[in-house]
């Protein structure tokens, strides 16, 4: 795996820029070339699958067909929602020939199902076993983190594999290799409010507050996530949670890839740590 297909999706070009930056940065360290899928389009999350089933499958099918035609064997989709849409479509098309035919008709492209679609947790674990662990020269000793999976990195039959959906463990090995201490806590798969960030902000504030509160109570100094949606709810909304009087939090929300990058000795700026709403530079031992 030296060159793999890269599907940034909208979020990694927008609110999830730090995830994009840190993923690209650790890939360079690991010697993996990320090649963006040419002419990629929207994965369909979350609007398409709420409104139109055909669209919800056809949009990802187009992306998968393009990637396959461009000769990729593996596609990395760092955004958890993109991953869920792409892999979910891959699984559904495998299971139903009728659906495969229908999407073929709609997009005019054929997807044969040869791709392996990888999420950020799987990607990090792979880099680790392929030798990245030896390059983590500056482990983050003494940092206590709560590993937060949310929904999209913990569940989905056939989508998330080799993981207990009620008690996921996928980040543990990577975090340990990065030198941090993983605290046991209760809310690793609780809902952050997800796509209701705009439409039902109050509910999101309540849900994200619970997650922050439990992480704090468990002694975590930061929450680690792999999902841009979770990140924005916990990071961007934290100030509002405080101003509403729901708590007083000052909890950095880190991407898994950011911690790996720091452990590999990369500068916090190159990983996007200076772009967070809640100060994350202190995780790198730096003042903002």
């Amino acid at each position: 795996m030296n060159t793999i297909g890269y599907y940034p999706g909208c979020s990694l070009h927008g609110g999830g820029r730090e995830l994009d930056m840190s993923i690209r940065a650790i890939s360079v360290v690991a010697g993996v070339v990320l090649k963006e899928i040419d002419d990629w389009s929207c994965c369909g999350a979350t609007a398409a699958h709420s409104l139109n089933h055909d669209l919800a499958v056809s949009l990802p099918q187009r992306v998968l067909a393009l990637a396959e035609a461009q000769g990729f064997r593996q596609v990395l989709a760092p955004c958890a929602a993109c991953f869920s849409r792409l892999k979910g479509t891959h699984v559904r098309l495998q299971r139903s020939e009728a659906l495969a035919q229908k999407t073929r008709r709609i997009t005019g492209l054929e997807y044969r199902g040869t791709l392996e679609i990888v999420n950020v947790v799987e990607y990090a674990n792979r880099l680790l076993t392929d030798g990245l662990d030896r390059k983590l020269s500056q482990p983050l000793r003494g940092l206590k983190v709560a590993a937060y999976y949310g929904c999209l990195l913990s569940r989905g039959e056939g989508i998330i594999e080799n993981e207990d959906p009620e008690d996921p463990k996928g980040m543990d090995a990577v975090l340990r290799a990065s030198g941090v201490e993983v605290v046991p806590w209760s809310h690793s798969i609780e809902c952050c409010g997800a796509g209701f960030s705009m439409s039902l902000t109050d509910a999101v504030l309540d849900l994200s507050r619970d997650i922050l509160a439990q992480a704090q109570a468990a002694g975590a100094q930061a929450i680690v996530t792999g999902c841009p949606m979770c990140h924005s709810n916990l990071d961007m909304r934290q100030q509002k949670i405080n101003s509403r009087g729901l708590g007083s939090f000052d909890m950095p929300i880190m991407y898994l890839s950011e911690l790996i990058g720091l452990a590999a000795g990369l500068t916090p700026e190159s990983l996007g740590l200076d772009r967070h709403f809640v100060d994350a530079m202190r995780v790198a031992g730096r003042n903002r």
Binding site: D164, P165, E166, S186, Q214, A217
Partner: protein, 660 residues
Amino acid sequence: MARVGVFVCHCGENIARTVDCPGVAAAAANLPGVVTTVDYKYMCSDPGQQQIKKAIDEFRLTGVVVGACSPRMHEPTFRKVAAEAGLNPYLLEMANLREHCSWVHDDRAAATAKAIDLVRIMVEKVKRNRALSPIRVPIEPTALVVGGGIAGIQAALDIANGGKKVILVEKTPSIGGHMARLSETFPTLDCSQCILTPRMVEVAGHPNVTLLPYSEIESVKGFVGNFEVTVRRKARYVDPSKCTGCGDCWAKCPVKKLPNEFDAALGVRTAIYRPFPQAVPNKPVIDAAHCIMLTKGKCGACAKVCQREAINFQDADELMKVKVGAVVLATGFELWNHSNYGEYGAGKLADVVDGFAFERLASASGPTGGEIRRPSDGAIPKTVVFVQCCGSRDPKAGKGYCSKICCMYTAKHAMLYRHKVHDGRAVVFYMDIRAAGKGYEEFVRRAVEVDGAEYFRGRVSRIYRTPGGKLVVRGADTLAGRPVTIEADLVVLADAVVPRAGSDKLAQMFGVGYDGDGFYSEAHPKLRPVETAAAGVMLAGACQAPKDIPDTVSQASAAASKVLSLFARPELEREPVIARVTQATCVHCRACIGACPYGAIEDREIRDRKGNLVKTVANVNEGLCQGCGTCAAVCRSNTIELDGFTDEQVFAEIAALARV
């Protein structure tokens, strides 16, 4: 000249719905050799049987074909009818028009044509049947009971009181099983130990009972009436004939912190131990895996203190062979491991316990002396949440079936807790309340109305521990239509009832079937609920399905009565469907001897009058042969035939089918 009668049964609607039974009878009348045909609604009923008897007599029948259900269902019934009418029962054959035809087809015309074929095949066969006489074998009137819980104890006592010998084999050091661990029993709240321990003493002291504790079944040979079972008597390292059970040894044992299995690991025990103070036999064994002397070669504290010199570190497992005529399997159950449920803490939360742990906490003989104290810090819990159906009725992550006993014991737990902690709150989450049983519904109502247990109809979605030590239980109240969050101090999960680990291996030894969940299969779910497909092997208790104590005891007594009725006869009649060797043509290649799975074929030397060896041939032991036909298949010289299924008969059946 053959005179065959054909009797076509409608089986109510079961066959007649898809098969034109009068049409089958009319077609059969034209078959060569058939002299009479009858069709009737219920051939197995008394009027049906009378018609067969009358025809045998009137037409002097030489063969009978009954077109009805599977021979597994009613062949014995109809063969008995033939015998009563004076016809050798093995001159009667069944054509299976139900399981092999009407139940599996929809097209009436095609099903009727197939039914006619099935009847024609059997007519051709029965014309070639010969009269056989049953084989009689002696019965060893001793029963083997496997498992010393309440099921095994009850079965052993009933058989022993019926005057027959019993060998009771128990895997652990003491009999008593799970019932000995229970605090009080529903629906009367009588003390489990008080009603059980006298029976434990009674069975151990019964002159007809040989108790083999700390022993397991190693291998099984033979068949109904004549099983030969090898029992592994595990090394106890304590000579029970010398030991008085004084307790000096375990008082001195330096290994003191082993989790006590009897107390659901809430209490501790020593390496030399008896499982509980009321154990039967009340003599210790040494846990070889944890004894310092047996693992590291030094210590011997128990041996030094034992004045009876009962400790023997050189003790080894012994194999003991026993001959028995019948077997009762009573291996019981265990609880499903809730660590499979990540949402309930994956088994890592100390204060989330199973039902047995709560029993021990509530038991006067338990690790807390009967005070409800939670495992993590010994505090008395002020709120206890009970979660029913943990692993039951969950085909995805757990078991698809209902474990049957949990509704009742959860109500009991809630009640006991409220009796002991008056200001405590007992909360129960349930899917449905299944309280079918005498006094059961009333018992649950009492838990709610008199003892104030709070029942929420809904599932628990998550249990987690706050850093402050509280357990947060989140669930649904589906009757009120809202989510519920309860802060609890202790959570009791009613884990699904599953068969004992290793019970599948035991079933294979005895040739007993088991279902996908590992529960032993009875011979018939309604009409033969305690027998198994393996003749002479009965079932008792939760090894067959989740059962409470009253049901277990009932089934154990039923199993005992089956054993006693088997032993009431001096010898057993066996189906004469066995292999026969034509000595004249046997070339003694010994292929059959190697092929026989039952070791039923041996060499026989044929000598002339002067005692000179003429030839050696294969010979079938009638007592051991099971009639499987393997030898007939491997015989190179067509010398072995299976009675009832000779080549002539089978080829005639095939030819009858091919002739159309």
